[in-house]
Symmetry: C2
Subunit: 364 residues, 2 copies
């Protein structure tokens, strides 16, 4: 997608400085997401330690993007020491950077499985190309999600004959992936196809990922309005929302959707106002072993500092972290919630769109 009218991806391979094809010159570029949306700064990562630091410090975030970044980490590790021992050590190091991210383990396994049977002298080259494949697959998957989801928006526009109002929660946009995003991919593709859309962007306390969504949409020229999480239901009551689309952290085989805290409340409001509610995600997000997400998923309790502190720009114009709640009151900070399948209109993946009752058709 675009920043300042220039097409960008959230991570990119730097192949050959000065025309060289030597693997020593290989690197990856990322946009440092800890500074977004207050500043857009690229950062070049050249070693497995750079990669590990970028993931733990959340310079890259979003389940799909973390997986891709970690894959490049293994490639750097293999360039420096292609031994089996180094492969397992560095895979473990990378896996520990964000222990709860399912896609991180998935991507590391994918690269490791390719390398494990290969001779050591080929591992550097194989790892690099596999990492690039993981990145390219992510783009293709998200593009396909967008192509399928686009049809829903197109039909709504055809029916309503006015801009389609879409509400989203959190950031499931292109910066959470390599490109396109999951929930935002259909929106970008509708916009690019000339279908008029307007997005209600929810702030998404405590981490305010709505800032990223608003910034993405603004840079790509998609009309949108930023609202607090409390306001979504109100706009639904007043006919200002035609559909809701969110991403997902984990989906049960029965269609329960674990996603950013607050998603459940939004699904309730959508149901109360007969508004279709979709989750958009790669098939790899579905955990087929999971039958009852509400009972079986342990909800991650995150750091209280996420609630007590917030990043903002002071009157002096500098971005810094402010304390908005002091230590005197205890805080609870569940990172996500579970929306029961009964509240989900449909699941959008790279394979198509399905109701939750038919989700099992994709289990193979």
């Amino acid at each position: 997608m675009k920043i300042n009218n220039i097409p960008r991806t959230s991570i990119w391979a730097i192949e050959a400085a000065l025309g060289s094809v030597l693997s020593q010159d290989r690197a990856v570029g990322i946009i440092d997401q800890t500074l977004l949306p207050f500043a857009v700064e690229d950062r070049i990562l050249r070693t497995v330690d750079d990669i590990a630091e970028a993931i733990s410090a959340m310079r890259v975030r979003g389940a799909p993007l973390i997986g891709v970044t970690a894959a490049f980490g293994l490639a750097f590790a293999m360039r420096d020491d292609p031994s089996f021992e180094n492969l397992t050590t560095k895979a473990a190091l990378l896996a520990a950077t964000r222990p709860t991210a399912v896609n991180l383990a998935w991507a590391l396994n994918k690269v490791t499985n390719v390398l494990i049977t290969a001779p050591a002298n080929l591992r550097a080259e194989l790892a690099w190309h596999t990492a690039k494949d993981v990145a390219a697959d992510d783009v293709a998957t998200n593009f396909a999600i967008g192509q399928h989801g686009l049809k829903i928006i197109e039909e709504l526009h055809h029916k309503l004959q006015r801009p389609v109002n879409i509400l989203t929660h959190c950031n499931a946009g292109w910066v959470a992936t390599v490109d396109w995003g999951t929930a935002l991919s259909p929106i970008y593709q509708a916009h690019d196809a000339g279908i008029p859309v307007h997005v209600w962007v929810e702030e998404t306390r405590p981490r305010n990922q709505g800032l990223l969504t608003a910034w993405e949409l603004r840079e790509h020229g998609v009309p949108h309005t930023y609202i607090v999480d409390n306001a979504g239901g109100h706009f639904m009551q007043h006919g200002k929302v035609d559909m809701v689309i969110v991403g997902a952290d984990r989906v049960s085989g029965t269609g329960d959707v674990a996603n950013k805290i607050g998603t459940y409340q939004k699904a309730l409001a959508a149901r109360d106002n007969n508004i279709p509610f979709y989750a958009a995600l790669p098939l790899s997000t579905i955990d087929w072993t999971l039958k009852d997400a509400l009972a079986d998923i342990e909800i991650e309790e995150r750091n209280a500092a996420e609630i007590r502190m917030l990043r903002g720009v002071s009157t002096k114009g500098t971005a810094e972290n402010f304390t908005i709640l002091d230590a005197g009151s205890p805080v609870a900070n569940p990172g996500f919630d579970v929306t029961p399948a009964r509240l989900i209109t449909g699941i959008i993946t790279e394979r198509g769109i399905t109701g939750v009752a038919e989700l099992h058709q994709w289990q193979n």
Copy 2:
């Protein structure tokens, strides 16, 4: 209620400095709420202009408290010039300080009606005592609300045999009134009666009045946990909320409750989890002429700065306003929403507790 273990009210009459009974020495004290909860600073108001400034600058806030404060404003006006002309001019001046506050007009009318037929030379004295009556009535009303609401908490405790978990949204606490608050009055009285309670305090973006609620509860020693607005539904799903109690800005004769933005979403989550949902309010909040609040109440669109800016403490330790969303993305900021009567378990007023279907019994 208590601050630093000392019983306080949010406004108080200062009758007689140095033992004097001269009306010139009269003043009122307030807690400057623009500085809460980062600092507790009293402020003495001595003139009608002081009062007008305190209301417009939101040094006092909360519908009941604004009304009481304005009543004292008229008393100062009458002390300085008891003419009929000054009465109407200053009543209009005070009414304009917060044009949407229903209780402000109600309190000004109450005082004006007492003064209008009185001889000019008695107006200063009458106005002062009427203002004190309005303040005392507010305390008595809120105390009665608490006595009735306390019974619900008592019954829940009896049934559950453990601390009762109560969720509240926004601040309907003692600082929004003269004392006790509306939604928090039953909680204070339960706590004071030795019934164990724990309060889930929702942050209440955009103005984060949850900070006031958390501060109030902390100062009074009531166990509580601060959460973001997105998390309320999650805790309800997991059996961590036994009842919800909120205040109200305006209630229709049919039981629809207009309250702080986000209340509707909370009522939906309560209903989805069979959790009782109560609104606590003085009878004067009920607008008997209103039949369908969702259709008939025009929702106040508030300043975008409430979303873009937030007060916090910088790394240097100073409290200041900082920007969390720049001007690049448009913002919508509805101040309140309407919870339909069908989602309300009961209404608590100074007269008792009733289901919405029986609300009309109090219309006289």
